[in-house]
């Protein structure tokens, strides 16, 4: 029905997560109507995020190119306690609770054989490498409260406990099967506060 650049824009938008064909069409027509400078700003920010951001070389959170992420760069944070999460978005969720003053480690996923994700596809080796190097004394396993998240937490607990550090898991009470990202900050805050030692 549409041709050329409009068709291309609808196709590209339609590839984004959560955007169906109808939404893609609606957004494309919205962009068609906005002033050129607004459109340019949107395009520039998309290019900039790809050009200038990378993963933090310490914790694999999102960071500006060549730098540590904001959390790792902040030396007021407790370097000995590390909160292990599946996704950078989970860091935002934990930060919102204001219950945690340590650092993070982002696995970039959870064990999920159905999707071909095993320990090698996650940043597990890098986590083990940080324990001695950064004199970490406690890891809080903050993976999602679903089957894959629980399996990942247990897998890590079995690797980390023999290293002689405290290994804790956020308390249950989060909606089971849900994503950390969607937990409200009060509930997640309580879950972090009420964390318990994992018996692997």
């Amino acid at each position: 029905m549409y041709t050329g650049s409009l068709r291309a824009l609808i196709d590209e938008l339609g590839r984004l997560p959560g955007i169906g064909p109808k939404s893609a069409q609606r957004i494309a027509f919205y962009i068609l109507k906005i002033p050129s400078e607004d459109a340019r700003r949107l395009a520039d920010s998309i290019v900039a995020v790809k050009d200038r951001t990378t993963l933090c070389e310490q914790c694999f959170n999102v960071a500006e190119s060549g730098n540590l992420c904001d959390v790792c760069a902040d030396d007021r944070r407790d370097a000995h306690v590390v909160c292990v999460v599946e996704d950078p978005r989970d860091i935002v969720a934990v930060e919102r609770t204001q219950q945690f003053r340590g650092r993070y480690h982002v696995l970039h996923g959870a064990l999920n054989p159905l999707e071909g994700i095993g320990p090698d596809q996650l940043r597990v080796r890098e986590l083990l490498g940080r324990i001695d190097a950064e004199e970490i004394t406690e890891t809080i396993l903050c993976t999602n409260p679903n089957l894959e998240g629980e399996a990942t937490a247990m897998y890590l607990a079995r690797l980390l406990t023999p290293l002689g550090i405290a290994v804790t898991r956020i308390a249950s009470g989060l909606p089971v099967g849900g994503d950390l990202e969607y937990a409200d900050e009060l509930t997640l805050g309580r879950a972090i506060e009420g964390r318990r030692a994992v018996v692997p």
Partner: protein, 374 residues
């Protein structure tokens, strides 16, 4: 007759691109039986299949979900409007060819199968029910699990988890390609732990359900097979006995360790609740192997009636009865006995023969008038 108050009543059903229907809509009698009429192949069973799909996410006719989507279409939709405790509930399933299906309850996506079975609880009687007795153990497990999801929320959640763990474990075993490396062993450890947690819970729940079910099935069987009851009395055995037999010996954790090498070699989980059997016997003899076809038919009906009675009592609400051409396979006596013992409540019924005496019909729907065919 008015049924229990807590139940979900189906009010309205809408189909899009389901089997032969481009679009179809139908209203269902709030109480009692809605009879669906029409010639063979006109789509009577399709209506029942679509309703059952909402709660089970499966077709009771075929193993392939794709077969439910009209040929040439990419997706199909079933939408039902129900009434529960005075409130309107909309359940909508979308089926996509090549996998991918989702169901929304009041516009919220629901993934847990047990939650859907509670949203649209159904009891299906189908011409294929002889398979409940003659077929593989999976048929009897499915019967139990459907009821478990409705009557026991915790067991339902454990069933959902178990299904997912088994899929994850299966994927891992296939990726291992026959070699039990240290890394495979370490990951298997954590999946096995999840399997033990959900598996033991499912096993206990199934065992308890079978114990609860046995007297109800025996009761229904006695009512249906009353005319050839003498045989039971002669032998002095219980007419119907049921036994839950787990798919492993001893603690599940130990059984998994013991079979690990074998599981990796065969790339499949060889022990666990996915191998459970519900053993059924008539006067002490294995019903699958040693019963007559007449006895097997009565037992199949009794299993359906028993489950229906159990779910009705324990959930406080009768599931919607879906009776697909049940009478044509039965002899006169069994037919009469079934009509006499059909539970009250809402029902959808199809038949290919004249309706047996005693069936009260609240509404009649001619399937040729409900929509457009492709």
């Amino acid at each position: 007759m008015s049924g229990p108050d807590r139940g979900a009543r189906l009010a309205h059903l809408k189909l899009h691109d389901i089997r032969a229907f481009v679009e179809a809509t139908l209203d269902v009698a709030r109480d009692g039986t809605t009879l669906i009429t029409g010639p063979n192949g006109s789509g009577k069973t399709t209506v029942l299949e679509a309703v059952a799909y909402l709660g089970t996410q499966r077709s009771f006719r075929t193993t392939s979900r794709d077969a439910m989507v009209r040929i040439g279409c990419e997706r199909a939709i079933v939408r039902a409007e129900l009434e529960r405790e005075g409130r309107r509930v909309t359940v909508e399933s979308e089926l996509r060819v090549g996998g991918g299906a989702r169901t929304l309850v009041n516009r919220r996506t629901v993934q847990a199968r047990s939650e859907l079975s509670r949203a649209v609880p159904t009891t299906v009687f189908s011409p294929d029910d002889l398979g409940l007795v003659q077929g593989p153990p999976a048929r009897r497990r499915d019967l139990l699990d459907g009821a478990l999801g409705i009557v026991d929320h915790k067991a339902g959640a454990a069933l959902d988890a178990l299904e997912r763990v088994l899929r994850q474990r299966g994927a891992l075993l296939r990726q291992a390609a026959g070699r039990l490396s240290a890394e495979v062993a370490a990951t298997l450890d954590v999946w096995d732990e999840r399997l033990v947690a959900s598996g033991e819970e499912v096993s206990e729940a199934r065992r308890a359900l079978v114990a609860d079910l046995e007297p109800r099935v025996a009761h229904a069987y006695a009512a249906l097979a009353g005319h050839d009851r003498t045989a039971c009395h002669r032998s002095g055995q219980k007419a119907v006995s049921m036994e839950y037999r787990p798919g492993w010996d001893g603690p599940l954790a130990a059984a998994l360790v013991q079979r690990r090498t074998e599981d990796v070699r065969r790339a499949t989980s060889t022990v666990g609740p996915q191998r459970d059997e519900v053993w059924c016997a008539i006067t002490g003899r294995d019903a699958r192997l040693h019963a007559s076809q007449g006895e097997q038919r009565s037992l199949a009906l009794a299993l359906r009636l028993g489950i229906h009675a159990l779910v009705t009592e324990r959930s406080g609400a009768a599931p919607l009865l879906l009776l697909d051409d049940v009478f044509s396979e039965l002899d006169r006596d069994r037919c009469r006995a079934l009509v006499r013992h059909l539970p009250p409540g809402q029902a959808l019924l199809t038949t290919t023969m004249a309706l047996p005496e005693g069936v009260e019909v609240a509404a009649v729907v001619d399937v040729r008038a409900i929509g457009v065919r492709g």
